[in-house]
Amino acid sequence: MRNNQMVAMILAGGRGTRLYELTDKVAKPAVYFGGKYRIIDFPLSNCANSGVQTVGVLTQYESIFLNSYVAQDSRWGLDTRDGGVYVLPPREKSGGFSIYRGTADAITQNIDFLDQKEPDHVLILSGDHIYKMDYSKMLKQHEDNNADATIAVLEVPLKEASRFGIMNTDENDRIIEFEEKPQQPKSNLASMGIYIFSWKRLKQYLLADEKKEDSEHDFGKDIIPAYLKANRSLYAYRFKGYWKDVGTIDSLWEGNMDLIDPKSGLDIFDPSWRIYSEDITYPAHTITDTAKISNSMVNQGCLIEGEIKRSVLFHDVVVAKGASVVDSVLLPGTRVEAGAKLKKVIVGEGVVISARKKVGTDGEVTLVSKDI
């Protein structure tokens, strides 16, 4: 991709209250995922691998950790001369502080940033989706179509379509209608919340939208309908592959389990599309004589003396003798003491599970966020 052909803007503002204590200290995109990663590693690595060099991260709530995490842009190779990851919180303006009032407003408030970068196109991404996607292919389709906007869509089962924003398209995949959670869906093309806009045009619409008093300043609710109303050329880009919104405890757990399920379609071993993350200084993990391990993913720095089954272990986890960890996700620094039994549990960072404690059930996922 040519320099500044496309700049990505990641909407990372969500407080993520449905992730409960996991977002007590970090914003949702910084939540741990997959034994080694944080959720935002996925869009950032996708950018790096797609040749997008400049990324803005729009944060709102308690962003100190997210800030310092993404600011180390060399983790994704995004520390090139002209590129970089820029944290963009709401700023003090002449009229006092403002906050981002909606997804579109977050971009509007950063028009000066984008104008400074002078991109041809802007890629809008969400900070809490797990997927691997080559945005350069989407851009190619966008340019080939000479489109004003291109929206990535996923084919979902028609019966589930009413949970999504649905794109109704013509035979060339030009979008003729957008329906938010339609009761009677006319198509199965669900919006993934991934947009490419030609920047000059988008800027016009953002500035117009900013003045509308009844607008929610949202891409799905305001900007896309405005484009459609003006008969702008919007196209759907059909994405095939794994995609998951991990915004709830259940879906976060499912996403982790998908990593150890060869049939899930989520392959993080593909050397041609690495997911980059923080580089941790722990030695390789050790499995002792007393351990038993199967169907699991284990990161460096762990010491496994107990039984691990269908689980994902982040770095620096210790599972002592006689302990058993099944269908669980153990975040960094977890200590599972001797004889403890975990079943379908997510254990928070640094939490200690005392000896012989039994936690979790076959049913709902249990979140353990403090020592027990």
Binding site: G34, G35, K36, S74, I260, P262, I268, F269, P271, R274, I275, Y276, S277, D279, T281, Y282, P283, A284, H285, T286, I287, T288, D289, A291, I293, S294, N295, S296, M297, V298, N299, Q300, L303, I308, V312, L313
Partner: protein, 377 residues
């Protein structure tokens, strides 16, 4: 800023890890799955706040140059600090001439230009975690010309064979000087020996003099030769290292060190929480174990897929152990692939090797089998 310029020296021809070192120098050797041997001395220097570092290597420098990069992942400020990798491939063939003295002398400009007052010279083949500022403190206290690290061992008949040994005496006038009175060689005849770690601290000006003098004596002289010769003339202070040390100077020591450090109670002295050992990340995902994996007493690196049996072994990054493969008492390096039906015992499988056909590769009790880099067997 540190007053010490770090020099990572290369090892003499006596140091050889048969097989493995045909493909790369000792500093580039894989260590405990995810590291390279040079990571220890380099992390020791970085953690000691030494930020100007000269790395002298034998042979091709590409892999070390790429590994250390600008130094930023070793926590070195790339503007203020600097990392130079010096190689002298052209003289490899006539290797007797390719000494550390000649390598440093050929790059004198970099040595002269450095602002630091002191130099610390250490090779990479001794593995330990240590703050070189402690050595500087001992050096200043002792008022010595040179301070050198040594390790007291009680199994010198088994390890560090061929390494320098030293004898010291208390200095009559200076209680802070443990004066080295002679430097010998460990022939493995005795259990108790003080092994030199070939780690020297001295003023830069003294090093420049020693380089000059050594070249005048013989083109075959190494730094340790000229220091041995100066033992009466200079006040050389022996400083004992209290932390554990491993010496990787042969295939056997490479193998036994690995087997030994699977035990976390032993390896933790090398991987201390307050003393990180840095390396270059490969951005590998965590290790994946499937339903047929059976693993005991092993150290396993990221990026690997374990579907077979692994016992008492070290598995490097991005290794595949297929279902039905059995790996025992072995070291499997990066990107090697062990196919179904294969049984390995006491084997070292080099990087990218593919073991597909040779059914049973089991060495006798005191032997080790080596499978070469990128070989398919």
């Amino acid at each position: 800023m540190s007053e010490i310029l770090g020099i990572i020296n290369f090892e003499s021809n006596a140091v050889e890890v048969s097989g493995l070192s045909d493909y790369r120098g000792i500093p580039s050797l894989s260590f405990m799955g995810r590291y390279r041997i040079i990571d220890f001395v380099l992390s020791n220097m970085s953690n000691s706040a030494i930020s100007n570092i000269h790395i002298h290597v034998r042979g091709n420098s590409r892999s070390i140059s790429e590994h250390v990069g600008t130094g930023r992942h070793f926590n070195i400020n790339s503007k203020r600090g600097s990392l130079h990798v010096f190689s002298n491939e052209s003289e490899m063939k006539a290797s007797a001439y390719h000494t550390d003295i000649s390598s440093m002398s050929q790059n004198l400009e970099f040595l002269s230009d450095a602002d630091e007052q002191y130099v610390l010279i250490a090779p990479s083949y001794f593995v330990y975690s240590f703050d070189y500022n402690d050595l500087l403190a001992e050096h200043l206290k002792s008022n010595a010309d040179i301070s050198m690290l040594y390790k007291s061992t009680d199994n010198a008949n088994e390890v560090c064979i061929g390494c320098d040994t030293l004898s010291y005496e208390k200095d009559g006038c200076n209680p802070d000087l443990r004066r080295v009175v002679s430097i010998g060689v460990n022939r493995g005849k005795h259990k108790n020996r003080s092994i030199s770690l070939e780690c020297y601290l001295m003023r830069k000006s003294l090093l420049l003099e020693l380089l000059k003098e050594a070249r005048e004596i013989s083109p075959f002289y190494w730094l340790k030769d000229i220091i041995r010769e100066k033992v009466d003339e200079l006040a050389i202070n022996g400083v004992a290292l209290r932390h554990p040390v491993r010496c990787i100077n042969s295939l056997e020591s490479y193998y036994t060190t690995h087997m030994n450090l699977i035990d976390q109670s032993k390896s933790k002295a090398f991987f201390r929480e307050d003393w990180p050992i840095f390396t270059r990340t490969s951005d590998s995902p965590p290790t994946l174990y499937n339903s047929t994996a059976r693993v005991k007493n092993s150290t396993i690196s990221n990026g690997s897929m374990i579907m077979g049996t692994v016992e008492n072994s070290i598995i490097g990054r991005n290794v595949v152990i297929e279902e039905g493969a059995v790996v025992r008492n072995s070291i499997i390096l990066t990107r090697a692939h062990i196919a179904s039906g294969i049984e390995l015992d006491r084997a070292i499988v080099d990087k990218r090797a593919k073991v597909f056909n040779a059914k049973n590769i089991c060495a006798a009790a005191d032997d080790i089998i080596y499978i070469g880099r990128s070989e398919t067997v």
